[in-house]
Amino acid sequence: MITVRLPEPLRDGRGEIVTMDAVSLDDIIAKLGIAEERDELFNFAVNGELILHGEKKVKLDDGDEVEIVVAFSGG
């Protein structure tokens, strides 16, 4: 089971934390139904480590914690 922490804009009535079975980040996007909303503003962090590229190569294991982070760097 994967724990996913969602930022406010992607909750859509869900709570901050949801759990699901998933083996990849694409899996999570599909199961949450956020393919449209998940634009370049949102990055994934897996077990606290921010993913900056190569999302498709990320394999998830049972117990992993995924967070979708509002990520921008110019302010």
Partner: protein
Amino acid sequence: MPIRERIRALLPRLAADRQFPTQGETIFVDLESRDVRRAFVPRRVVETFLGGRGVNMYLLHNLLDASLDPLHPDVPLIFGTGTLTALVPSAARGNATSWSPETKVIMDSNAGDYFPSFMKLNGIDHLVLYGKAPKWTLLHFDGSEPRFVDAKPWVGMDNIDLRAAIERDFHGEEGRDFGLAAITTAGEKLVLCSGIMAGPKAIYARGGPGAKMGSLHLKAILIQGRTADLTPAHPHKQRNREVAEKLLSTSVVKNALKKRGTPFLYKPSRMLGAMGTKNNQETTWTDKLDAENIDPFRPGMEGCFVCPVNCRPTNDMSASEHTPHDKYVKGDGPEYVTLGKFGPNIGIAEVEQVLRLNNICNDLGLDTASTGSAIAWAMELYQRGIIKPELDLTWGNYDVIEKLLFMTARREGFGNVIADSSRAVENGHYPAEALDYLMAVKGLTQSDPHDARILKAFALGLAVATRGMDHLRNRVTLEINAKINDDPDFKRELYGGDVSAQPTSYEGKEIAVRRCENIFAVGDAVGMCRFTTKLFNSPSLPGYEEFADQIANVTGIEMSREELDRIGLNIMGVERMINATLGVTRKDDTLPKRWFEEAIGVGPFKGEKIDRGQFDALLSRFYAISNLTEEGVPRPEFRRELDTVLAS
């Protein structure tokens, strides 16, 4: 050549009449003799440098005597407003330009809120100030007519009291009736990390503008009324509506800037292990400063003139028991820069403490980037036993830090050292070995807290920025976004060339920095906010296409996207020409020693640092595509092209 002779030589080369609808005057004000001259910037100069920052540089290039000192009254302080300022949504900005007393290279600082808009609303595109007023002066423009007012009643006032006094004494409300640019006590005392306040928080911050204005004995510039004829060449309101819609529908605006503002940036930097901590000795810090932890203290959001975004959080700690309930219990901000510089960078972990330091800096008119960096530098020197000041500069020693801000603004005790900012070694306060720990490029301490040892495009940008170590000139912010990095075709289209998907790679990063530097310079020239300019945090924000349309509508001057991109390059070119006369060479386009020698110690990019050889090659590639020589100055043919306009 003295400034008055330079102006006499320049005036005949300027135009006597408006060159396009909505153009404002360039007004030359001699604060010593009270002589006032007026002219218009010629069309050819506009077509080469556009306006705002670009034309400011044209003026500085013509008026600067590099044999003087930056605080000499013959070195002008130039305010400029963008071509589209006050006329297009989110274009509320303008630049203050001079020779920096803090860095000794160009000073060019950008601010919003209301002052640049009131310049435009009263037909003033550029304001060139020089000469030292015989006594402290408030320059009052009632429309475009200046009046020299004895500033005695306001001297010694800091920002909160000053703005209230001006509203009372001039019977108006800032933002509705007037725009105000003013210095605080820190500027009067020539504090090198002081800025010119353009609002409760808005500040011309970087490079010591407060000190420069103080050197002219100018306390404030008040522009009152809305007197200019700003009838555009063609109707522009429909396109404005489209620009506003585009702004408000962009994810970074809709989901981040409008909600919490820039403090959102803290979390990704922290998680990345790229949060400058304790003068960049470490690179991560507590989650207690994540943006959501500021929510309880944020009553609302404020914005600049004609901006629908409203990205500036306000703060109110009245309900907190952990902070004094004095005039600093409320304020504007913080921005991410302040959160980082007065949080992790000096070892502070409590939200209320950061907010209070933010509010104090806003009142004292201190640039939080330079001041926070100068304090962090001192703290590391104290930690290493290199200095032994009378204060306990232990990391996170809140009470001392708060006290030190007031001492800095008044140049008292060790505050006199912080007031000299990055010049502390040159001015004899620290031994030479202290420079090994100074986090600065070209004398300017880093603007934001993001440690750039990981993202090599960020590192290159900080190294080559013409005003010094500042992310707002060229940062390839989208390098942090996985979705863009994982789409090579889109990334190629965005930057006009192949840029490696890997943030840690050096490959192609020169292409991305070049593209960003050009579009951001054009953004400054038209007066657009960086936060809402394409490539800064989003590929979907207004860019050349919208700028070109509205330049054509507002001025009647048609410019292609390619011509605008060329203007961005021209602005960089003239800035590098000025810097070259001030002694800047390739060796100055570098990074702090620490980033070459010490690796990141935590997070997913543990072990990353800057490789000198690869960085040097990257710098050469950047020069090559920027039409610069190996020394970082415009190549002869580029220089000739610029000289033709600069000297015409």
